[in-house]
Each structure stands twice: as structure tokens, then as C-alpha cells.
Symmetry: D2
Subunit: 303 residues, 4 copies
Amino acid sequence: MGKAMSMNLLRHGFKVTVWNRTLSKFVFLLCTALLSQYLEWNLEICVCDELVKHGASIGETPAAVVQKCKYTIAMLSDPAAALSVVFDKDGVLEQICNGKGYIDMSTVDADSSSKICEAITSRGGRFLEAPVSGSKKPAEDGQLVILAAGDKSLFDEILPAFDVLGKKSFFLGEVGNGAKMKLVVNMTMGSMMNAFSEGLTLAGRSGLNPQTLLDVLDLGAIANPMFKMKGPTMLQNNYSPAFPLKHQQKDMRLALALGDENAISMPVAAAANEAFKKARSMGLGDLDFSAVFETLKADGHSS
Amino acid sequence: MGKAMSMNLLRHGFKVTVWNRTLSKFVFLLCTALLSQYLEWNLEICVCDELVKHGASIGETPAAVVQKCKYTIAMLSDPAAALSVVFDKDGVLEQICNGKGYIDMSTVDADSSSKICEAITSRGGRFLEAPVSGSKKPAEDGQLVILAAGDKSLFDEILPAFDVLGKKSFFLGEVGNGAKMKLVVNMTMGSMMNAFSEGLTLAGRSGLNPQTLLDVLDLGAIANPMFKMKGPTMLQNNYSPAFPLKHQQKDMRLALALGDENAISMPVAAAANEAFKKARSMGLGDLDFSAVFETLKADGHSS
Amino acid sequence: MGKAMSMNLLRHGFKVTVWNRTLSKFVFLLCTALLSQYLEWNLEICVCDELVKHGASIGETPAAVVQKCKYTIAMLSDPAAALSVVFDKDGVLEQICNGKGYIDMSTVDADSSSKICEAITSRGGRFLEAPVSGSKKPAEDGQLVILAAGDKSLFDEILPAFDVLGKKSFFLGEVGNGAKMKLVVNMTMGSMMNAFSEGLTLAGRSGLNPQTLLDVLDLGAIANPMFKMKGPTMLQNNYSPAFPLKHQQKDMRLALALGDENAISMPVAAAANEAFKKARSMGLGDLDFSAVFETLKADGHSS
Amino acid sequence: MGKAMSMNLLRHGFKVTVWNRTLSKFVFLLCTALLSQYLEWNLEICVCDELVKHGASIGETPAAVVQKCKYTIAMLSDPAAALSVVFDKDGVLEQICNGKGYIDMSTVDADSSSKICEAITSRGGRFLEAPVSGSKKPAEDGQLVILAAGDKSLFDEILPAFDVLGKKSFFLGEVGNGAKMKLVVNMTMGSMMNAFSEGLTLAGRSGLNPQTLLDVLDLGAIANPMFKMKGPTMLQNNYSPAFPLKHQQKDMRLALALGDENAISMPVAAAANEAFKKARSMGLGDLDFSAVFETLKADGHSS
């Protein structure tokens, strides 16, 4: 995703410096504003000649990029990577200082986000968490939805870049709220995917054409892009991963934990979460989250 | 809904005769085709001067309407009413015969539908079940989705009327399939409403603005008309019934029973069904089905 | 079970006449009181020389047995059989009359029970439904628990026989209550079996010895005969049916339906019911209900 | 519980030194073996004249007790307390050394237990985790079930004390297994309590006498001490806490998390967990865990 985001920034005239953590697992995106309303962006993706060809320059380490840039954006695969890039040797902390902003667009739990925020701000930097809703395709199209929280002034300054990366940016208040909002959205999505899978299963096993169900759903009050996009591939047992099932299940687990903290009973999300766990026990964790559909198939002669 | 549907037919030049069963509980809509591709429609709604003003004529009894019309459409509130209008004195059966078609657009279980079908066809009539997806507003706008099953030739002939009443009509095969498809759609919708309610609750009680959640959802992969329409009213605790909760719960119960017949385990729908039952136990059965949101509110000081 | 019950009555000096409906599927047990406090019982089990050897005589048809006996007890496999024996040709109704009592100990739904009750009483007979808690072993040992409802005077008269068949008899009021009580008990049992299966699974997959879990459970506050009896066989994947899973699932379905009528949300029973349905979809319906344990096993490489 | 356990040890001739952490929140129990097969025990409960009267002596700090004793037993209210007593100033670590054993009988998560184990053993001490099954009454009666894991030689030496405190002691292997076994048992118990609550609710609202259900259950295959003990108080809405609901829910959460690690789907436990969360949201967290019964009551006029 980092690559797609960098390309969008380059295309819109931002100056970009890039750095990439490992071969392909992590994408680290660093940027800086050079002029009043223009931004210089820095971004590297491993063996990323393509980006360099389009005008990106390269930073040797996260620290090097932060030194060079006013604004640094991170897009990493998980909380461990997000923490490592900040706290490890040659990491962000070594160069962050007054006047610089750090924007973490990775999907990170609230605790890790708070830890990073504290470290950045204690050195005078400004921090914004800004996880996104949307995966590869929306990233390429600059159609992400950005859920930002933290330093409001930094949000306002970085908005021109957000406008290139996404179709809409929200400022949600204190650090942690971006992560929470993302969890709420993904929990709702995970329950819906189960509702959808159950509907498709019931249709098929009751003698209806599941393809017709897709057509009917698409005309009604619950028509939505996910049903439209995933329905046809699910009917073909095609689960090439846009959003891996184990990540979906992790988000449901974290959302349920957030509910637990606040004494919120969410029986439907809990049932959906168990279905995703069932899918994991069937070895489907690395497939697309729509593979939860497989948990509903009959594996014997019913009686 | 019968009234809105009759108005649409009248507006499009159909001749309509109407009859209405009781004061306002039931709406019975009867129609007939006079000419090759034109239809004469008959429809009465209690004290329905408005329809008459627009050109409808009146039938004294269901039997009278069937006698007068080639095609008769019923839109009744529940299976009991659907059966009564056919089998009771002065009912449809007294006049149905070779050359006449009977289309029941009520939402009726597969058993009742089969019983009606058998009675109609044993007297030489043709039968089509045609429940609709969509409630009051789509009915007024001629934007219903029609789920027809039964006599294919009758379906083909009545299509011009369906095209006025709805935006899309499906022919689903044997009688019972219309009812089943509707159950599958409504089950999926009921689970989604719970997923949505849980998301709104989690947002609100975790310190996020639920209104912002609505905005975020509306931009993402699970954006759908139901979230857009119901979200704002739910946040105002406004549950004036478009689709009563007790009917939604009934449909979930029937869908689960259909699954049971076919040995289909649907844990998310089952959890959603229990939430709707909880809402009924709270006295919310006559409110809109979105009132299931109320089951998630804290009723004490959490600990 | 009918055979075991007949043997117990014969052993205690009751006179018994027997009739059996089909090869081995149904057991029909008929009895009559000859003397003041002694009862004459009649019972047949197909090719049941053993019972005859122990003193039973044989009735040619249900009607024949009723004619001969003051008290007739039925123990049949399901509601359809229970209805057939009463209403079919040569059935109970042909001879039931004033002065005779009919006791149905089959497990029958409340509706069928009411129908039988009405037919019996409209001919002057007295009726008692008396389903039992306990299966083969308790039947042999005269350790059933009898859940009677209907005619109190008949209950009082038949008590000496109940005392031989069971360890305790309850009179629960109006007809239907026996069936309901049985459903409540079986629903609770079905949820418990799932709780137990989940515990065994969690132990085994978390590196604990499931056999030790059985030992620990047996010493604690939730120790119970079912865990003690089923635990060891479940760990051996031995599910020879004492109580078939499909019957357990049917009882959960009916219990949930009873709850639905009364707007009772029972989320744990609903989840347990879906697990039993999952087991049915895996082809385990004819095995013991403890086979629901199989639904929890990993069928792939977890991730 | 610590007090009851100390009394039992004193009664059986053990020498006991006691220390208590805070006014009454924590009970810390320390013991040491003086002679070959006799043990010297040390235990303090705040203002615990009663124990002193029965022969206990007093340790000023945890460190002081460890110094004095060969075997030290801790019984604390939660993981935080268990950690504090070991790691804080004047804590166990200051005096633990080769030749001494530390037995933590608190209910502690596997992580905290491992942390304590590592600290103790790195200083030459031996460690045993030994959470118990059973609450106040079994503690007084010496009828606890002890779930020990860790150092097998320490287990063997401390067994004479365990035999006084409990009716049965299990050695479960590596540290962490005691905590896991306890979670499995409590998860099973929590689901059963929900199954029981649903049964009682269904009985009462369907026109059966819930007290009769208790009698019927007590005679059948699922009869168990918990139903017998809790049933009557639940019917009186009496939930004075033997095991607080919030602790039961915490154990279900941890058990589900353990299942999540191992990709185990446990839908019934998940539904039960949500019911306990609902109870917390109703402000019932400090009552007995049987208060989950309250979540099932109708709070409106059902429809």
C-alpha cells in the first residue's frame, strides 16, 4: 500500500523520500514539506526503482528521513513494525524534534499508538495516528478514508497530502481514537461478512440460486460494495487475500476486548468472531476474510 | 402498501378495481387486464375515495373482483389474511377459474403459499407468489423488488404491471421459492442491523462520536442504504415502524427453521434472532426493527 | 425402553399385556389394573418371547389391549407414532371409554399431546401425559424420572406402577406441562454438553490432559453424572447412541420455539443449537448427542 | 480464604507464621517446614488475633516470612497483588534462595505466573503455582481442589499441607498449566450457569414451577452441586457474592483468549461471556455470578 500511496503523492507534485524496512514486508513512507503549502515527500520501497524513476529520493534509515523531512509518514504492516521503526537503532526517535511531525498510518492498537505518541511528543515532535479504511485498490486510486487522531495542528498542515491519498479525512480527537474507529468499522464489517455468508449458504442449500440472491441483494436496502465485490468470488471459492482472515479475526478480538473494557455485550460480533476462529482452525487464516464462508459448508451427509 | 401500489398502476393507465378487507389492517388489491397488453386493475382501500378519485372502481368482495378481472393481485398483512381472502366465504376460490390468474404479493410462508397454489390450480386458475423486497417508500416510488415464483406464463403476462410496481422482477422457479428468497434477504438484513447496532454502541461507549461512525461507514466498502437511512433515527432513539421488529424476528425465526430443515448451522443469525427476542421481551415488538439497538444499552452502572 | 419397563412391572407382580407396533422401532406398552391396588399390565415387544416367558400376555392391536385393560401405557418413539396408535384403525380410540385411563409416556410435543388428550377425554377416557427423563439404563433399573400432567385422579391411581418404573414422579398440572418440562431439561442438558465439549477441547489443545480435566471436574461444584459417563467415551471418539444427536437438536429447536412464543431470549441455548446443527451437517445426527464434541475439532492447520 | 486455610493448618499441628498485605483486601499466607515431615507455617491476617490465639506467629513483611520459613504459601486476590508481594520492596525476592520453596495459590494468569517463576528460580528458589477450585466453604472444610504445576519435588514435599487444605491435589506439569486448568473449569462452569439460568427462565415464563424444575434436575443426569446450591437463591433473587460475576466474566474472557491463541472456536462460551458482559452493563458485576440470571428477565411488556 505504501507504494501506491507514494505514487499518488509523486503524481500530485509532492517531493517524496522513501525508505523501506525489509525486503517487502514493511513499507515505510517518509515525507517533508519544503515550501509554504507544498510538501516534500520521501518514500522508499525495497528495490523501488519505479518510485525513484518517478522522482522519489531515498533515505538510508528512518532517522535519516526524519532528519531530512518536516513530515514523516509511516505505513507499516503491524504494531511490532510500527514500534520498531520508532524505537530501534537508526529509528525515528533519534531525529524527531521540535518542528517535525510524525504521522503513523499503520493499523496499530491504541496502546502501541499511545506509546509512540508519548515518545515523539516528549522529544518535541508532533504526532498523528492516521489508520485508513480501504485496502490496495482504494490506495491506488487515492480513495482511502483516513481516520486521524492526535495533534490537530499537524492534521491541518498535512491535509493537502491526505487529500491526495484519500477521499475523506476525519479528525477524531485524542490519540487512540483512530485505532478505535478502525476497530469499530472492521468489527461491523466482520459481522456483516458472516451475515452475508449465512445468507448465501441458506440460499444455496434451500434450492435457490445464490447468484440470484446477489442480484436481489444488490437492488435492496442492504446493497453495498462488499457484497458486490466479494459475492461472485465467494461463489467461486476464490479467496485470494485482499484482507487476510487472521487480521480480520484479530480486529474482531480487539473490538470485543474494547467492548469488554466498557461492559458492552455484543453477541452478534462474538458469534462472528467464533466463526472466524473456526475458519482459522480449518487452516484458512491466510486467505481472504470472506473464506469464513467455508465454515458453513456441510462436511458430511446431513441427517 | 397496497394503496401506493394501486396509485402507481392508475398513474400508468391501468384500470384498477379495489377491495379492502377490514378497516385498515388489510389491503387487498385486485386487478385485471382488459386488452392485449393493458391491464384493468381493481383496488380498494378502506374509505379509499382517493383511489376512486384517481379512477379505481370498487369490488364488493374478493370473489366479485376475481369475477370481473383477469388478473388479481393480493397484498395482505400476514399469512392468516392471505389464506382467509382465498378460502373464506365470498373468497377468491369462488370465482377463480380457467383463464384467470392470481398473484399473491403478500409475505407468506412457503406452506401457506403452497396451500393457496394448490387450491387455485385445482380450479383451473394460474398462481404466482410474488413477495416484495422494500417497504412503504419504495412502494410509492415503484421501486420494489419483486420475487416471483410459480406459473411462468402468468409471470410473463403480468410483467407490465410488475414493471410499474417495481424496479426489477425475478422469476425464481417453483412456488415457495419467492417466500424463501425473501426470508434469506430478511435474515441477512436482520443480522446486519445487529452488526450495525453493535458498532454504534461500541463507538458511543468507547468515546467516539457515533455520528462520525455513520460518516465513516458511508464512505467505505460496507456503505448501504439501510445504514444511511436508519443510522440517524437510531441515534435519536426514533423507532417509528417502517418494518416492525416482531415481523423481522418472525422472519429470522422462519429463516432459521428453513436452515434447520437443511442442517445449516447459522450462528450469527441465531445470535441476532436472540437479540430481537430480547427486544420483544423489552416490549419493543411493535417498533421499527432498528429498535434492537436498545438491547445494547447499559441499564445499570457497569462494573 | 418399553421392554425394560415391562420387565420391571412383571418383576414386581403386575400383570402385563403387550403389543408392539413394528419390527422394533416402536414399543407399545399396555397395562391394566385387575385388583384394588394391583395392576394387570400388558406389553408386547416384537418377537418378545422373553416378556411372555416372564408372564406377559399379548394384545393383537392397541384397541384389543385397551379393551382388556383398565390402564394403558404407551411408550413410542416419536409424535407421529404416538398419534398413529391412537387415531389409526384398530387404535386406542376404538375402545377407550369411561372408566379407562390412557397414559402416554412417549416424548411428544405439547400440540400432539393436546390432540390425543382431547380425543381420549371426548370419549369419556382419562388421559395423562408422562414423558420420562432418563434413557435405557435408568429404564432397566426402574430409575426414571416421570413428568406427568393431565388427569390428577389417574395420576394417583397409576402411581404404584410409576413407583416401579421410576424413582420419582412429578404431577405438573395441565396437559402439555410434561412435554414442556422435558424440553426445559433437555435444553439445559444440550447447552451443558456443549459447555463440556468446549472445555475438553480447550484443555486438549492448550496442552492439558483432558482426562485430568475429567478428574478435576468430578471433584468440583459442577460434577454430574453426564460428565462422568460421557467424558471417557467422548475422549475415545465413541458416540454409540444413547440419545441420538438429531433428537437432542430437535428438543433444542422446540425449546427455543417455546421461548420464542414467550419472548424469551436464550443466547446460550441458541448457540448450542447451532452447534448441534453443525454436527448434523457433518453427518453425525444418528450418533450420540455427545458427538457435538466433533464440531470443535480442528480440521486444518490453524493459522 | 487465607484465614480459613491457616486455621486448617493450625488445627492439624502445622506451625504457621502469617502476614497480611492490606487491611483486608489481601491475605498472604506463609509457611515453613521445621522438621522432617512436620511443617512450620506462618500466616498473618490483618488484626488477626484469632489466628495468633490459635498458635500462629507473625511475619513483619513477606521478606521476613520467607527468611524464617522453608515453604511460603501465597493466597492473594489478583495478579497485581501476586506480583507486588514478590517484586516490591520487602518482598519475597529479597529472601528467597536455594533450599526455599514458594507456592502461589492465588488465581493468576499464566503470564504473571511465569514471571514470578522465573524470578524465584533465578535466585535458586523452587516455585509451584497452585490455584484452587472451590471458594470460601470448601476452604473452611479443607475440601479445596488444588491444581499445582511447576517444581515436582516441591509439590511432593508440600503435599502434607495440601492434604490438609484440600481433598485432592493434581500435579499438572509445567508452570502455567495450573492457571490454564482453572480457566477451563471456570469457563465450563460459566457456560453451565447460563444454561441453568435459561432453563429456569424458560420454565417460569412457560407456566412451569421453577422450583419443580430444580427437583427434576436434581434427580437426573445433569444433577450437580452448583444447581443444587445456587438454584434456590437465584429463585429468591439473592446474589450475595460467593464468586463475583466480574471475576467469572474475567475468567471467561481469559479462557476465550486462550482458545483464540490456539484457533479454537467456542461459540457457547462466547455467548455465555456476552451474557456476563450484559450483566456487568446492568451493574451486577459485584454480585454473585449467578446474577447472570437477571439478564434473562423481561423488562417490558413482551410483544
